[in-house]
């Protein structure tokens, strides 16, 4: 029988690569399990303890909404306007030139409302609030504040995670709505400047005709879930274990990659919903 020790150089290299791949798959499954478990615990705490210690926890939710939502309004507004000018305006102009004005509403709804609006907003919130969450919670963990909370009978998930999950879910939903409005508005302005023969009333009418009630429901669900993903992934990486200073950048980058992967996977699930729903 051939053992690892008497393999040729090439065979040993292959075995090593397979071992590494196996270890990576195992680690990924383990991480996925832990993230899901953390998310389920957070959901349970949110349902059972939402109204517990309102005077401490609810101000934390508002403070997180301020940090992850209100403070991002100028940036989202700016990006929404540029997004509208670059994509919406050009698309409207192009479709009009091709005589395909009748598809403007459908294209707008598909591109802005269903896909890019929620995804772009989630990416901005992830970059701004998700990364700072990892660093902030990592510091809290490293300083032993989590143990201090437990010693006082304060549930760390209730005090540190729940406010972030609620605030980020609400923030991504509201900011995405804001971005969609700004993008649609600025897109029309760009098309108007290009002398596209389309009245604002017609433009809105087409959007209205293209939108189904499911679009509103799925938009709300998708953006809320994107926010929850950012919160759960960033809180998990910040709190899972005490971070050393040199680990912060690596863990933050990891949280970003995992969140983006989760966005794409969730998007794929929603795409199936749109296609077969």
């Amino acid at each position: 029988m051939k053992t690892t020790s008497n393999l040729t150089g090439e065979d040993a290299g292959t075995v090593l690569r397979v071992e590494r791949l196996g270890a990576q798959i195992f680690d990924t499954i383990q991480l996925l399990k832990e993230l899901v478990a953390f998310g389920v615990i957070t959901l349970g705490v949110t349902i059972t303890k939402f109204n517990v210690s309102k005077r401490v926890v609810h101000p934390l939710i508002f403070s997180q909404i301020w940090n992850a939502g209100v403070r991002l309004l100028p940036m989202i507004g700016f990006i929404g306007a540029i997004f509208g000018l670059l994509i919406v305006g050009q698309t409207v102009g192009l479709l009009t030139k091709l005589g395909a004005e009748g598809y403007i509403g459908m294209v707008m709804v598909t591109v802005i409302v269903r896909e890019l609006g929620p995804l772009l907003t989630a990416l901005i919130v992830l970059a701004r609030a998700g990364t700072s969450n990892v660093v902030e919670l990592g510091t809290i963990r490293a300083l032993g504040e989590v143990e201090a909370l437990e010693s006082l009978g304060i549930d760390p998930v209730h005090y540190l995670v729940m406010p972030r999950v609620i605030a980020l879910s609400l923030s991504v939903f509201c900011l995405a709505t804001y971005l969609v409005f700004i993008a649609i508005g600025s897109g029309y302005i760009f098309a108007f400047i290009q002398d596209v023969p389309l009245t604002f009333g017609n433009y809105l009418g087409q959007l209205n005709n293209a939108l189904r009630w499911e679009d509103f429901a799925l938009f709300a669900l998708k953006t809320t879930l994107f926010g929850a993903i950012i919160a759960v992934v960033s809180c998990y990486h910040g709190l899972a274990r005490p971070l050393r200073v040199e680990e912060v950048s690596r863990v933050t980058a990891r949280a970003v990659v995992e969140s983006v992967t989760a966005f794409v996977l969730l998007d794929a699930v929603f795409l199936l919903g749109y296609l077969f729903g």
Partner: protein, 265 residues
């Protein structure tokens, strides 16, 4: 033979009991055992000091006894309830009855002011009016000589003051047992005297069911504690050993105990 009434009185007077407990390292996720077969009864009203060299496992032992570090084996009973079968609600109830002052900076909440750090456990528990909380915080700030620092952030204070905020935060609740993790380790002589005087007064004046407040402190040596505590134990080589009262400590011939009593470096 012990009657039922005597047995009940005896069990009522035991606040915390460890029987054959395997203590794990509090900061090690692999649950490595740092102390084996710990047998320890902390009676209500007692003042314990656990001595041992730095990194001997005193912090893990105190956290375990306070119900904040899960033991790897043995039986831990807190106020008569078994730790392993306790529900989350029971543990939250213990935390109201047990105060823990962490070593060095006291592990304060860095995003809250001194006053809000002290008020947090009271505000979280929802059983006091806001004006009652304000009055209680003011009282604790005065007692711990921190009145002038109420609006400071923890990072603006020295280590000694931060530790006093930790003490005030632990005392904010109506606790029955107070754990102090090496409170004198980083303090100047003056601050150390303040702590010993404060703890003496606290043990004498804060009565719980007619008994003094139960205090359990860890220390790198017994100097300063001899005239204060009434029960002593040592941690050495991964073993916990009860020495006894003041006389037993002063009369002990064991090198480990003599080392904790010596004043020479």
């Amino acid at each position: 033979m012990m009657t039922d009434a005597t047995a009940k009185t005896k069990s009522d007077s035991i606040a915390i009991e460890l029987a054959g407990v395997q203590v794990t390292h509090h900061a090690d996720p692999s649950d490595a055992v740092v102390m084996r077969d710990v047998n320890w009864r902390i009676g209500a009203g007692e003042f314990w000091v656990v001595g041992g060299r730095p990194s001997s496992g005193k912090t893990s032992l105190l956290l375990t006894a306070a119900g904040l570090n899960r033991p790897a084996g043995g039986t831990l009973r807190i106020f008569g309830q078994d730790f392993s079968s306790a529900k989350e609600r029971d543990r939250e109830a213990w935390c109201r009855r047990i105060g823990f002052v962490f070593e060095q900076s006291g592990r304060l909440f860095s995003h809250l002011t001194v006053a809000r750090n002290i008020a947090l456990p009271l505000q979280y528990r929802q059983d006091s009016e806001e004006r009652e909380i304000v009055a209680r915080v003011e009282e604790l700030l005065t007692q711990t000589q921190l009145r002038d620092y109420a609006s400071y952030m923890p990072g603006q204070l020295g280590l000694g003051a931060q530790q006093r905020v930790g003490l005030a935060r632990a005392l904010a609740s109506p606790i029955e047992v107070l754990f102090l993790d090496n409170p004198l380790s980083t303090l100047s002589l003056h601050e150390g005297r303040w702590w010993l005087d404060f703890l003496r007064q606290l043990h004498k004046n804060r009565l719980v069911d007619g008994k003094p407040l139960t205090i359990v402190a860890s220390a790198d040596d017994f100097r300063g504690w001899i005239g204060l505590a009434n029960q002593f134990a040592v941690v050495e080589g991964g073993q916990f050993r009860v020495i006894g009262g003041r006389e037993q400590v002063e009369g002990a011939a064991e090198p480990a105990v003599r080392e904790l009593l010596t004043s020479e470096i």
